[in-house]
C-alpha cells in the first residue's frame, strides 16, 4: 500500500503510452477565442491573401530612393514566397490588355444617334482647339466625338509620386503579395529573416507585415514563458521543501500532482477533439492549487489521526469542483476547457491526498511555530461592508477592454511601424468577404454591394457583371457605327483635317467580344483575389461603412478587430451569467458547510475579489484574463473560507493557508513578472488576491 502513489502514476503513464496517438493537443489559439464560423471566415480570408501583404517604405523621393525601390523589387521577386509586387501606379500589362480588349464594353457609351450638325460642330471645335490651346492635346482618331468615356479607377489609399506609389510624405512604397499567412510560423520566420537580411543593406528602409508579429512576438513570448516557468519551478520546489521539510512527503506530493495532471490530460483529450495547449498549461497550474488539501491535512495531522474524512477539505473540494463544473458549460472554449481539466485534476488530487496518502507512512507534523496573535482585528461585518462598497466602486468605474490584441505581447516597435503605414491611409476601409455559387453571381453581388455602399473597392470597380455586359453588347451591335464613320470622314475633309485621318474611326468596336468572365486573377496585385472551395466562389471587397451593407446575405465581415470585439462582448456577457450562477451555488454550499460563520467565510471570497477589482479598475481597464483569474480567486477563497470557519486549531489552519498561498503565488503569482499582458493580468489578480487573503487571515476577527 505504501507504494500505491507510485503505482497509480505508473499505471497512468502506461495508459498514456498506449493511447499516445489519441492524445491531440491543439496549438491553434484562435479556436479558443473565435467561434467556428468566424474561424471559417478568417480561413477563407487567408486563402484570398488577406493579411498576407507586406509593405516596404523607402524614405524620400529622390533618385537614390527610386534606385532602392527598383533594387529591392528585383531582389524580392526572386523569393519564392513573394507572389507579386506593386510599386508603380501603372497597371500591369495584363490589366492594360484587359482594358484594351474590353474597352467598348467597359466604357460609358453615349448611344444617342448623332446628327450631322452635331458631328460637324464637334469636329470644328477640335480643329480650332489645335490652334488656340496652349497645351498640347492629342486628337483621338478612333473616337473623335468622345462618345466613349472610361473613367479612371482610383485605388483607394494609393497615392503616387510620379509613377511610383508613395507612403504619404514619407517616401516610396512597395506593396508585396506573399504566400505567408500570420499563422504559419515556419514560413513566416523564413520570409521575415530573408527580408531583414535584404533590408540590412539599405538605410532608411522600413518594412511591415502582419506575420512580423508572429515571428517577433513568438520569440519574445517563448523567452518570457521560459523565464516564468523557471522562476515558478524554483519557487515551488523551494517552498515545498522548506515548508514541508520532508523529502518523502515532497516526492509523494509531486507524484500525486503529476498523476492528477496526467489523469486530467487523458480525460480531457479523450473528451475534446482539440484540447488546447493554453488550456493545458492553465489547467496544470490550477492543479497545483490542490496542494492546499495536502497542507491542511498535514498541518492538522489528518494522516495520523485515523479520521476518514475532513469535512472542511471535503466541502472546500466540492464547492470548488462544482464552481468549475458549472464553468465547463460556458460557451467560451478556453474557460470550458480549463474548467473541465480543473474538475478532473482537482478531483483526482483530492482522492489521492484523502484516501491514498494515509497509507504512505507520512511523518506527523510537529507544531514548533507560535504565531503572534494580535488583538487589533477588524470585525467581520466591517470587512463585509467594505467589500460591498468596493464592489460598488468597481461597478461604477469598470471599463471593459474588448480588444483581444491587447492581451498579446505589446511589441511597441512593430506597432509604431504599423502605425506609420496605416496613418498614410486617408480613407478607412474595412474588408468583407463576398460569396456566390458562380463567378457571374459573384460579380453581380459585388455590383449590388458597390451600389449600396457609400464607397467601395472590389472587382466591381474594374469588371462589369454579365447581365450588364450583354445589355451593352446589344446596344453596341444595334448602333450604326458605319453611318457615324461616313459622316465623320466627310465633315473632317470639309473642315480641313488630313484626308482619311479618321478612316478607321469607330471600327474598334469588336462585335464578337465575349461577356464570359475569364481571368479575374489579373487584379491580384490590387489585393483582389478570388477563391473557389468546390462549392462557392469568394472574393474580398473593401467598404467604408459596414452598417450600410449588413442586410446583404452574401457578405461576411472579416475585420479581425470587429470579430474579436463581438466575441469579447459575448464572452463578457456569458462570463457574467455563469459567474452569477457559480456565486449563487457557492453561497448555498457555504451556507451548508459553515452555517453560523457564514459572513466570515463569505468574506474570503468577496473581499479578495472586491479589493482586487477596485485596484484594477482604478489603474486601468479590465480584460478577459482579469475576469478569468477572479474566478480562480473565488475557487481559492472558498477553500480558505471553509477551513477558517470550521477550524478548531486556528494557528495550524493559518499556517496551512499561508503555505498554500505561497505555493499559489509560485504557480500563478509569478506571472506578474511576465511582459505578456495576458499572463501579467493573471499574475496581477492572483497576487492582489493572495495579499487580500493575507490581510483576512491576519486581520479579520
Amino acid at each position: 500500500m505504501k507504494y500505491s502513489n507510485y503505482i497509480i502514476l505508473s499505471i497512468l503513464l502506461l495508459v498514456a503510452v498506449i493511447f499516445k496517438d489519441s492524445i491531440h493537443i491543439s496549438t491553434n489559439l484562435l479556436s479558443l477565442f473565435a467561434s467556428k464560423n468566424s474561424i471559417e471566415k478568417l480561413k477563407i480570408a487567408d486563402k484570398l491573401g488577406y493579411s498576407k501583404e507586406m509593405l516596404i517604405a523607402v524614405k524620400g523621393f529622390n533618385n537614390s530612393s527610386k534606385s532602392k525601390v527598383k533594387e529591392i523589387e528585383q531582389k524580392l521577386l526572386k523569393n519564392d514566397k513573394v507572389i507579386s509586387i506593386m510599386s508603380s501606379v501603372v497597371p500591369s500589362t495584363e490589366i492594360q490588355m484587359f482594358y484594351k480588349n474590353n474597352y467598348p464594353l467597359l466604357a460609358e457609351f453615349n448611344a444617342e444617334k448623332q446628327s450631322k450638325e452635331f458631328i460637324k460642330t464637334q469636329l470644328e471645335k477640335l480643329y480650332k482647339a489645335q490652334f488656340t490651346n496652349i497645351f498640347y492635346s492629342a486628337i483621338d482618331k478612333d473616337d473623335p466625338l468622345k462618345l466613349f468615356n472610361l473613367n479612371s479607377k482610383n485605388i483607394p489609399n494609393i497615392k503616387n509620386n510620379g509613377e511610383f506609389i508613395a507612403l504619404g510624405d514619407y517616401g516610396y512604397l512597395l506593396k508585396i503579395s506573399t504566400t505567408v499567412s500570420p499563422s504559419n510560423m515556419k514560413e513566416a520566420t523564413k520570409l521575415y529573416d530573408d527580408v531583414q537580411d535584404l533590408l540590412n543593406n539599405y538605410d532608411d528602409v522600413v518594412a511591415f507585415a502582419p506575420f512580423f508579429y508572429t515571428v517577433e512576438n513568438s520569440k519574445k513570448i517563448k523567452d518570457d514563458v521560459e523565464w516564468i516557468i523557471m522562476l515558478s519551478t524554483i519557487f515551488l520546489l523551494l517552498i515545498y521543501y522548506l515548508l514541508i521539510k520532508n523529502l518523502k512527503l515532497l516526492s509523494h506530493t509531486l507524484v500525486a500532482l503529476a498523476s492528477s495532471m496526467l489523469f486530467a490530460i487523458l480525460i480531457s483529450t479523450l473528451f475534446y477533439d482539440e484540447f488546447n495547449i493554453l488550456s493545458l498549461a492553465f489547467g496544470m497550474s490550477i492543479t497545483a492549487v490542490s496542494i492546499d488539501y495536502l497542507l491542511h491535512y498535514h498541518f492538522h495531522n489528518f494522516y495520523q489521526n485515523n479520521e476518514k474524512l475532513d469535512k472542511s477539505v471535503m466541502y472546500g473540494f466540492f464547492t470548488t469542483s462544482i464552481a468549475f463544473g458549472i464553468f465547463t458549460f460556458i460557451p467560451i472554449p478556453i474557460i470550458a476547457q480549463i474548467s473541465f481539466f480543473a474538475v478532473f485534476s482537482l478531483s483526482f488530487a483530492y482522492l489521492i491526498f484523502t484516501f491514498i496518502f494515509p497509507y504512505l507512512d507520512i511523518p506527523a507534523y510537529i507544531n514548533d511555530e507560535h504565531s503572534i496573535q494580535t488583538n487589533k482585528k477588524i470585525p467581520t461585518f466591517i470587512i463585509f461592508i467594505s467589500s460591498i462598497f468596493l464592489l460598488g466602486y468597481s461597478y461604477i468605474n469598470i471599463k471593459l477592454d474588448t480588444n483581444i490584441r491587447h492581451l498579446d505581447y505589446q511589441n511597441t516597435k512593430l506597432m509604431d511601424l504599423e502605425k506609420l503605414f496605416i496613418q498614410a491611409n486617408e480613407i478607412k476601409m474595412y474588408p468583407v468577404i463576398v460569396h456566390a455559387h458562380t463567378k457571374e453571381e459573384l460579380l453581380k453581388n459585388l455590383h449590388i454591394l458597390d451600389k449600396q455602399s457609400y464607397k467601395s473597392f472590389s472587382l466591381a470597380s474594374f469588371v462589369q457583371d454579365k447581365k450588364r455586359c450583354l445589355e451593352k453588347k446589344v446596344i453596341l451591335n444595334n448602333y450604326d457605327f458605319k453611318r457615324l464613320n461616313n459622316i465623320v470622314n466627310t465633315q473632317a475633309n470639309i473642315i480641313g483635317f488630313r484626308d482619311s485621318y479618321f478612316q478607321d474611326s469607330y471600327s474598334f468596336i469588336n462585335k464578337d467580344v465575349s461577356c464570359e468572365i475569364n481571368d479575374l486573377d489579373i487584379f491580384k496585385s490590387y489585393g483582389l483575389s478570388t477563391y473557389f472551395d468546390s462549392k462557392n466562389y469568394y472574393t474580398i471587397a473593401f467598404v467604408t461603412d459596414i452598417k450600410n451593407i449588413n442586410n446583404l446575405d452574401f457578405i461576411s465581415n472579416i475585420n479581425v478587430k470587429q470579430i474579436f470585439e463581438k466575441v469579447a462582448n459575448e464572452m463578457y456577457k456569458n462570463l457574467f451569467i455563469y459567474s452569477l450562477i457559480v456565486i449563487f451555488v457557492i453561497f448555498i454550499f457555504l451556507l451548508l458547510s459553515v452555517k453560523k460563520r457564514y459572513i466570515y467565510a463569505l468574506n474570503y471570497i468577496i473581499f479578495p475579489i472586491s479589493l482586487t477589482l477596485a485596484i484594477l479598475v482604478t489603474i486601468g481597464s479590465i480584460n478577459i484574463m482579469h475576469i478569468f483569474s477572479l474566478i480562480i480567486l473565488i475557487a481559492i477563497g472558498i477553500d480558505y473560507g471553509i477551513y477558517m470557519s470550521n477550524t478548531t486549531k486556528e494557528s495550524n489552519t493559518i499556517l496551512a493557508i499561508k503555505y498554500s498561498l505561497l505555493s499559489t503565488f509560485s504557480a500563478f503569482g509569478v506571472l506578474i513578472f511576465s511582459s505578456i499582458t495576458a499572463l501579467n493580468s493573471i499574475g496581477m489578480v492572483i497576487s492582489l488576491g493572495i495579499a487580500s487573503i493575507f490581510i483576512l487571515i491576519k486581520g479579520m476577527k
Partner: protein
Amino acid sequence: MVKTIILLFLGVNSLFATNYNFTEIRYSDALDKEISFNGNISFNKDALHIKYLKENKSLDYSNDSLVYKEDNKEITLDNIQAQKIIQYFKILILVHDSNDNEIKNIFKITKKDSKTILLPKTSLSNYIKKVELLKYEDEIKQIQLFLQNDDYIKINIHDEI
C-alpha cells in the same frame, strides 16, 4: 563695390531661376500642319513657369501642382489633362537640369554629336516615341518630343533673358 554687389545679386538670382524666350512648333498629324507659339519659360528648382505672350495664357508648375491662367484668371483643368502636362513639365525640368541619373531611370540615352536621343523605358513609351535634345556649348537649344500618334512638339530655346 556697387559693381560687385550687382554681380553677386545677378549670380545668386541665376541660381534660383533661369528665363528663356522660346518658340514652340507643334506638328499635328490630323491637320498635317505645323502650329507655332512664342513665349518665355523660367526654370526654378522643381518648378516651371511658361507664359504665352500673344495669347496671354500661362502655366505655373510648382510643389507638384499646376495652375493655368487665361487673361490672369485661373481656370481649372481636368485631372487627367493636368497630370499629362505635369508629366511633360517634369521631363523639361529634368532635361534643363541635366539630371542624368534620373533621366537614366526613365530613358535609354544615346548620344550622337550634339544630339542626345532619349528612348522611354517606362509607361511613357505608350505616348512618347522618343525625345531629341540639341545642345550647343552644353546649353540646350532644342527639345523635340516625337509622339506615338505621329505628332511632334519642337521647342527652340533662345538666349537666356
